[in-house]
Symmetry: C2
Subunit: 314 residues, 2 copies
């Protein structure tokens, strides 16, 4: 029942000796979704012991080099590792030609298929779905077409309390009836109400990836109530003018989005290499949104299953 | 007077958590020459504290992804770091179009010029020269056009012994005369022979880079007497058949080339990721050529200046 994020790279366009270029991996029930693929991603996957064969879906936010240059080598390595499974890539359309060009000129034949899914950069859209998960892309505000991604767990059925299952030896048919919202009806004809015999289901967990983007309130309703928000914070407030010019965000702006969206937790990252320490960025963000943590290469954040409603005044 | 090699990546096509993809840096009197540029090279440059601004010349052996995919990001990073100096790239011709394609589709304008120097894959040729150094490319034997590189220090003038300079207060004109091979002639008209007043000059140091290549004796005369030979050793003897099929070398073959070429020191590298430990490859090589060391990421090998002739029976 994992819903766990691993950060492989936390720098912005210039990598440092401590921070690689952008790449995240979301583990949803042991399916691994790769989000962006900056140079060095395959090496970071190795370091973090994430098996290449577990990755079947890659989501690319935008086509700047620091988010894609790890892709060419990763595709080759998949091949060298005898991959045969289809690989699905969700990205803006020009990447397809880029991949084709590189493959044709600098590589041999691939023994697996790449399924390319072009992203609509203008609208929120459902781009992936399986029995556990939905993934949406939505527009961000950057120099070129850029999309954020929202990963949302599907609603889960309520659990029947173990004590009742044992006590009443409930039939499979009855279990299905109860899980879909019904009451328990015994062979003798009496009822136990649904609310008594079940625990509330686990909540739908969610993760939103927002990078690269200038401050953009239009995303607030899209990511409303998200469990974990990753929002870029390339700059500190002091360099806000530069943030606006380059369509990046300050740490304060990232926190403001998290607050408005009532996120549960905020991770800031994509730090400019000019900041040797990111203490100031973190303080700035925490002043607005306390539950902020800084991205570090190798950071693992596990969103544990939870049943309770959030308090209204969260 | 440095002539110092730093190895940034020592794996073959698949990187591991310990070994990055191929890239070497040769520091010749504080000019830094980058040889190959596998994915992650810019991060390895950072880790090894090599300043990007010191690199003006990049030599690419061949156009397989594991030797070039670090180039696209490095070019961007140069730009972000406000480079204005020309960057010289020596590579087989199709790389130029590749760079142009990537720049056009995924990057903005560069604020510096790239000077592209196409390598002739068929012949040994002098491809670079300055007052300290000559660089030659020469054909290797691989699946696509591949060139090795030979870096040779230029001949140095003999040094006049300090004691004589002080004792006779030799004029600048006379110093030039002696350094170019003449005897010392005093104002009074008597002579001190050249051989007495000078120390023999430092020898021309040299480094040869041979990767990727199958076993290829044709390179022996080209790299004859080289101080330091890097020769790929992708496989151990046990997998010789695979080496021949893929046009790579075994450790034993690399050592055989070093021995025939009377190299002073051999570094083997480009190890297949299948070998968790490379002890066997090293033993194999040392059985043929004792002065063998294994490439490791971050290995620095300094070829110190030396004056003596090598013994004939070396």
């Amino acid at each position: 029942m994992k819903f766990e994020l691993t950060i492989l790279g936390s720098s912005s366009a210039l990598p440092t000796s401590q921070r690689n270029l952008t790449a995240h991996v979301l583990n949803v029930y042991e399916r691994f979704f790769l989000i962006d693929c900056g140079e060095g991603t395959q090496i970071q996957l190795r370091r973090n012991r994430i098996r290449f064969g577990k990755i079947n879906h890659i989501f690319i936010s935008h086509l700047h080099g620091d988010h894609i240059y790890g892709l060419f080598g990763l595709l080759s390595s998949f091949n060298l590792l005898d991959r045969t499974n289809d690989l699905h890539i969700y990205a803006h359309k020009p990447l397809k030609n880029g991949i084709d060009y590189i493959r044709k000129n600098f590589e041999g034949h691939l023994n697996y298929n790449i399924r390319f899914h072009p992203i609509n950069p203008e609208e929120k859209e459902l781009i992936y779905e399986d029995k556990r998960l939905e993934v949406y892309s939505f527009p961000l505000r950057h120099k070129i077409a850029t999309s954020g991604f929202l990963f949302v767990e599907k609603p889960r059925e309520p659990n029947i309390k173990k004590s009742y299952v044992q006590k009443y030896n409930i039939s499979v048919k009855n279990i299905q009836h109860i899980k879909s919202g019904g009451d328990y009806k015994s062979p003798d004809g009496w009822l136990i109400p649904h609310a008594e015999i079940t625990e509330p289901p686990y909540r739908q967990r969610s993760y939103a990836f927002c990078s690269d983007t200038g401050y953009y309130e239009a995303i607030v309703p899209v990511i409303n109530n998200v469990d974990l928000l990753y929002h870029e914070a390339t700059f500190q407030e002091e360099h806000r003018e530069e943030a606006e010019k380059t369509l990046h965000s300050t740490a304060r702006q990232a926190a403001s989005i998290a607050r408005q969206a009532r996120a549960k937790k905020l991770i800031i990252g994509h730090f400019s290499a000019r900041y040797k320490e990111i203490d100031n960025l973190l303080s700035e963000a925490r002043a607005i949104f306390e539950d902020t943590i800084p991205a570090e290469d190798g950071l693992v954040y596990d969103i544990k299953p939870y049943r309770t409603e959030r308090p209204d005044d969260y």
